[in-house]
Symmetry: C2
């Protein structure tokens, strides 16, 4: 076999194997190869195995220095494009103000929408780049980024444009999602907005290829399941995949709608009960949990353990956003999932790689197997478990995308 | 005024002011100077104020780039010297094993004691350096490091020697503490060990200047308050300051003993109730809380909010150690104290600077005022609150110790 590059000196290579999401007990099946090597050709993994078993020809060899290697992390849920900050909200909440008081004083998500409306797509992209770079330093090689801080068709299109501009400024693979987040306050405007989303925004975003999926926030203070169903129908007519923010504070039908529509994922799930857990486990939809929100807001963690025990395929994301999850590390999201959601280290790795990739509809990232993208992280130490054990520090020493070192 | 160095371009300089610990409502009184400058002479702060008010002469000027500056963080509680790892324990616990099962299988703290016993002081120091460097990258300029993974006089002296060796390899100010951690299992050995600690170890450590304070772990599975009292008495006779691990799992008198002995600090306090809170608040002893343990073990957080409301002076530390707090960031410890212990951002800054310094008996670090050490961190952004807001990423762009840039 001929390869462009051979990475040797890998103390442990830890990866899920086989295409498709891992569910239930499959999530513990991480393959660990000791004294491993990876051969890369044309940006893809050409071969993986014990270094002593390699018999091919590599144009170049790189020694990882007896360190562990894991697949590049996939962050399947971020709101990395925003303007302004929410530091005043943070301080107010930490000193006892409640959510309503913060909204009433002009803070909260509506302040982010105002600040984002005032920025150009170029400015928004520039603001997003250091956030995406922080995620990359933590080992992420694929990052989903949502729109959703707009109240108008034009504002959402500008946000998607910003995602694309930012994607051009960083090496990571960026997956853009059209999110319909917060409804207008006025009931007439609300109905009109749904119509414009269905008739103008979705077809336009799909026609221009600006988003690969559509997401709606189903919640008491946001959209009902019936409104979301209208928008998901329109998305599917336009050929977009669908996903939902579901059961964050109240289980009002988001999970059931997502499962019925064949959503790629239902995300959040903090308020999901036994019925929702069973519904997800019986479906092909990924359960994406977001522990940064639980840590930052002090709200109950999603039932990650119960979802896996019921047979669901769980993914983990940062939910990076200024209001409810200022978590700038995909690895720390996995570390938190172990502590807050009851995942085993192996389950966390699977949740942050292959399952997260499936939540984005990506078949060939998140695993280190022949034919998959050569996206991986070389860790500081020799044991891959340090990725999810370590709190507060970065253990990704090098980050490689498509067989090229982009960090470290 | 003549200065060696003037730092300008400081968007916000945030610091506690005035010597001594801040208690109760004083903990919210952070001074924030906008458009600030710091003049440094002989490694100390010579002047601080609005840049426009500076009228002196500086040999050199450095522009911080319109970024926020905070005092170098002080981490008042770490066990940064150890050998081996606890990844197997971590995995076992995350997959459902209980503490007793882990101990029975040869894991737990006794495995760290074994591995540490097998390493030389030089090896232990080399292992500690990257951990201390991670804390420094997070903004820490002063770090306490305890012994305590020994079962013999010689093993504890070796650990203190390792702390000193490590101190010589990093720029941070290192404060060594002699910790008597876990008792021998056998009752006779236990009594004998207390005698040897009092008669040999403490006098020897004090005579050689190897430690500035002595710490004992008071807990059901460790030492009783009566045993600790014997050891603290011996420490005080030898001129060492004293502190205690108190009320981590059970309130069995550690806090009361610490307060009675005039301890610099009582640390942990997760199990402290109203009586202990009142006792600390009425004393000069600092209450050091350690939120990394609560996150990692899932145990109840210490009552930080109640302690401050009762009038106590609270400090925050990482408790960096392999078994119960693999938290490698002093800034993230503060960020966690806001989320888990109910501290306001200002209180967290005070807890991680001046109060933490007082918990180590240090009068002139942890504040940016004339006569204090010129130890500070330049943050990535312009608002100092990002230090405690940000999760999972490092916001300390530069770290300066004694007026010299050591990171960034």
């Amino acid at each position: 076999m001929k390869a462009d590059l051979l990475i040797t000196g890998i103390s442990q290579l830890a990866t899920a194997t086989g295409a498709g999401p891992k569910r239930g007990a499959e999530m513990r099946a991480v393959t660990v190869i000791e004294h491993a090597a990876i051969a890369v050709a044309s940006g893809e993994v050409a071969w993986v195995g014990k270094a002593s078993d390699w018999t091919g020809d590599a144009a170049e060899t790189v020694d990882a220095g007896d360190r562990a290697v894991v697949p590049g992390l996939v962050d399947p849920h971020t709101h990395a494009v925003w303007a302004g900050d929410r530091l005043a909200d943070f301080e107010a909440r930490a000193t006892g103000a409640n959510y309503e008081a913060i909204l009433a004083s002009g803070g909260g998500i509506r302040s982010t929408i105002r600040d984002t409306a005032a920025a150009s797509a170029e400015e928004l992209a520039q603001l997003a780049v250091p956030r995406l770079e922080a995620l990359m330093r933590s080992g992420a090689t694929t990052v989903e980024v949502k729109s959703g801080y707009g109240f108008t068709v034009a504002a959402e299109l500008k946000m998607l444009q910003a995602v694309w501009l930012a994607a051009g400024m960083v090496e990571a693979r960026i997956v853009p999602t059209l999110l319909i987040h917060i409804p207008p306050v006025n009931a007439v405007e609300r109905t009109e907005y749904v119509a414009r989303v269905c008739e103008e925004l979705i077809p336009e975003a799909a026609r221009r290829g600006l988003a690969t999926a559509m997401d709606v926030f189903v919640e008491r203070e946001a959209w009902s399941a019936a409104e979301a169903a209208q928008m998901l129908d329109a998305a599917q007519r336009s050929g977009l995949a669908v996903k939902l923010h579901a059961d964050q504070f109240h289980a009002i039908g988001g999970v059931e709608l997502g499962v019925r529509k064949g959503a790629l994922s239902v995300d959040h799930l903090e308020a999901s009960g036994p019925e929702q857990i069973v519904a997800i486990a019986a479906s092909r939809t990924i359960a994406t949990i977001l522990p940064g929100v639980s840590l930052h807001l002090g709200t109950p963690p999603a039932p990650g353990r119960k979802l896996i025990d019921a047979g669901a395929a769980v993914a983990v994301g940062t939910d990076l956003n200024p209001g409810s999850s200022p978590l700038f590390s995909a690895a720390e999201a996995l570390a938190l999932a172990v502590r807050l959601n009851g995942l085993a280290p192996q389950e966390a790795l699977v949740a942050g790689t292959v399952n997260a990739a499936c939540a984005l509809g990506l078949a060939n990232v998140g695993r280190l197997e022949p034919g998959c993208a050569a996206d991986f992280a070389v860790l500081e130490g020799g044991d891959w478990r340090e990725l999810v054990y370590t709190l507060g520090a970065n253990v990704a020493r090098e980050v490689w995308i498509a067989g090229r070192k982009v960090r470290g």
